[in-house]
């Protein structure tokens, strides 16, 4: 007599969902490559390659230097944001927790905007070393630093108080936003335009160096996440009960915080503020196949990547040939879905 025989074992359903989501991601990837302002066709290019003909220089440029890095960046960032959200929610035992709430995104934004506005004051050697990546590097360091600061504030004697951490996150976010306001006043017109676009989030500037900079960090974080699955499942019972079923609670919490900081910092650094992916994706998946983190985490990575690809295609299409910042698209798509979920399934969310 097993769960599967009874028809309510959600593990089997979650595994079928993993397969479906992997297929969806492949379809979305191909669609994304073939989608864009230039009339380049993926199938035309594949046919050319198969027939042994050289690609036209334009096709090569559009596919390999514009759409392919953008595709990879989109997948990496979408997966990183969704998995960060799922990890954070498991850690805080609250489906509304999100890297945006504990201040990781705010810290990253403050650092990035500081770089945009005051970056010119840095020594020339630093500037020439950082080059075009100054904003990205600053965002990553800001996310990292704010997570570590938050952790120091919220941890006493090796125990992290979830409530303190959430409240400290709110305070940190408020402080960061106030400083951002000050910097906005200091900024000149060109800087104002830069920082507004950075804040709205964009994948338009995707290049191979950006992909290669973000990939190792995000892939490491994604690989580490499944190791936390059992720990996060246990934490749903409460910290004490998790310890009693044999989970090294403090180690799980430390590792989850580091993983979130790495994934979110890297994602925010290369793409600016893209919201709601981290909250909506885990929600939808919990409704579909339950809250077990063993399947929730990989499924979140797959669905997050697909969702961001879809959002990116919309962002590229609506105002073609101009582009809408992708953060606007995810907020418009995500916020109503989030509210709808709250309204419909309030009781089942465990709040």
């Amino acid at each position: 007599m097993t769960g599967a025989a009874h028809g309510f074992d959600r593990r089997a359903r979650a595994r079928r969902l993993t397969v479906l989501l992997a297929l969806l991601l492949m379809v979305m990837s191909v669609a994304s490559l073939g989608w864009g302002a230039a009339g380049t066709s993926v199938w035309g290019a594949v046919a050319d390659l198969a027939a042994g003909r050289a690609l036209s220089p334009l096709d090569r440029l559009v596919l390999f230097d514009i759409r392919l890095p953008r595709l990879f960046l989109c997948i990496l960032v979408g997966a990183a944001l969704a998995v960060s959200g799922a990890l954070m929610q498991g850690l805080f035992r609250n489906p509304l927790a999100d890297p945006g709430i504990v201040g990781v995104s705010a810290g990253a934004s403050l650092a990035a905007i500081t770089a945009i506005v005051l970056g010119g004051l840095l020594p020339a050697t630093v500037l020439s070393f950082a080059g075009d990546y100054l904003v990205a590097i600053a965002a990553f360091l800001g996310g990292w630093a704010s997570t570590l600061l938050l952790y120091r504030v919220a941890t006493r004697g090796g125990q992290t108080s979830v409530a303190t951490m959430l409240l400290a996150g709110i305070a940190l976010t408020a402080l960061a936003m106030a400083l951002v306001g000050v910097l906005t006043y200091l900024a000149d017109d060109r800087q104002l335009r830069d920082l507004t676009f950075w804040q709205m989030g964009s994948l338009a500037g995707a290049t191979w160096p950006k992909v290669l900079a973000a990939a190792p960090i995000i892939l490491t974080a994604l690989a580490a996440a499944p190791l936390l699955a059992r720990g996060l499942n246990g934490l749903a019972l409460g910290e004490a009960a998790a310890g009693h079923i044999g989970i090294p609670v403090q180690r799980v919490k430390n590792m989850a915080i580091l993983t979130v900081a790495a994934a979110t910092g890297a994602a925010v650094a290369v793409s600016g503020g893209i919201g709601f992916v981290g909250i909506v994706v885990p929600h939808v998946l919990r409704l579909a196949s339950g809250p077990d983190h063993h399947t929730l985490l990989p499924n979140a990575a797959l669905l997050g990547a697909s969702l961001l690809l879809a959002a990116d295609m919309i962002a590229r299409t609506v105002l073609a040939p101009a582009e809408l910042p992708i953060g606007i698209v995810t907020a418009i798509l995500g916020a109503p879905v989030f509210l709808w979920i709250l309204l419909r399934r309030h009781g089942a969310m465990g709040m």
């Binding site: 309510f8 609670v249 077990d292």
Partner: protein
């Protein structure tokens, strides 16, 4: 399992003032006492949830020096209140107990445990939709699954229960107490904080009666649960083994074994 000279404070108030107690394998040890006497605090020290001074020994090992996963294979702890974040099903909650310990291979165990706590057929239900009493029994099933066999490698395993019957109706109180008593009879150790003195008298092999952070009396129920001890502990008149005044109905769980 032994607790040696345990002291513990919450904030500035000292809750436990040098408590020593022993629980033997093969026996059900009940910790009883008035509200705020420190019985739950003692349990939380024994399970390592809060800092304490003194020493807790489990099968002869100092508990403070063991890793969580080693302890989890030896003893399971049922919490008093048990809210669970996220919409897990009953089966998924009970399975959380499985992943530790020696019984990890069995996939039928969660169903056996649910049947044992009279929740057969509830596996697919959402945990947070259940009543308080049912939640308490689901948690007991999870705890049972974790240390299903009362003995492992010739050493006893332990059930540590914080008021396991507090939310249950009288029928299920019997179900649960029979179940844990049987666990003890098969060689395991059971330590339970108990509020119901009748059930304590009926099921416990040893009683630790606490008052104001100290052990007032310990030993078999016949010696500990006396009118004198209970009146001191609870600070009111507690007659023992006296029938109710004429006309007033009273229930005596202890009479359950006799023919009706």
């Amino acid at each position: 399992m032994e607790a040696l000279n345990i002291t513990a404070s919450l904030g500035r108030r000292q809750i436990l003032q040098g408590v020593s107690a022993i629980a033997n394998p093969g026996e059900l040890t009940a910790i009883a006492g008035p509200n705020g006497c420190g019985k739950s605090t003692l349990l939380r020290c024994v399970t390592g949830e809060i800092p304490y001074s003194g020493e807790v020994r489990l099968n002869g090992m100092n508990v403070a020096k063991q890793t969580p996963w080693k302890l989890a294979a030896l003893r399971a702890v049922q919490p008093q209140t048990a809210e669970v974040a996220f919409p897990f099903t009953v089966l998924e909650i009970v399975r959380l107990g499985l992943s530790a310990g020696l019984s990890a291979a069995s996939s039928t165990l969660p169903f056996q445990a649910l049947e044992a706590v009279d929740l057969a057929g509830f596996a697919g239900r959402f945990y947070q939709d259940l009543s308080g009493g049912k939640k308490q029994r689901v948690q007991l099933a999870r705890v049972l699954v974790q240390v299903w066999q009362p003995m492992a490698h010739g050493k006893p395993r332990w059930l540590i229960l914080d008021e396991p019957v507090s939310a249950l109706d009288i029928g299920h109180q019997y179900t649960v107490m029979d179940l844990v008593k049987d666990y003890a009879r098969r060689g395991g150790g059971v330590v339970a904080v108990m509020h119901d003195l009748n059930l304590t008298a009926m099921y416990a092999d040893q009683v630790v009666l606490m008052q104001a952070g100290r052990v007032l009396a310990d030993g078999p129920p016949q010696e500990v649960l006396t009118a004198e001890n209970l009146s001191t502990a609870y600070n009111c008149r507690v007659p023992v083994s006296a029938p109710a005044p004429a006309g007033l109905p009273y229930l005596l769980p202890q009479a359950r074994g006799t023919a009706a």
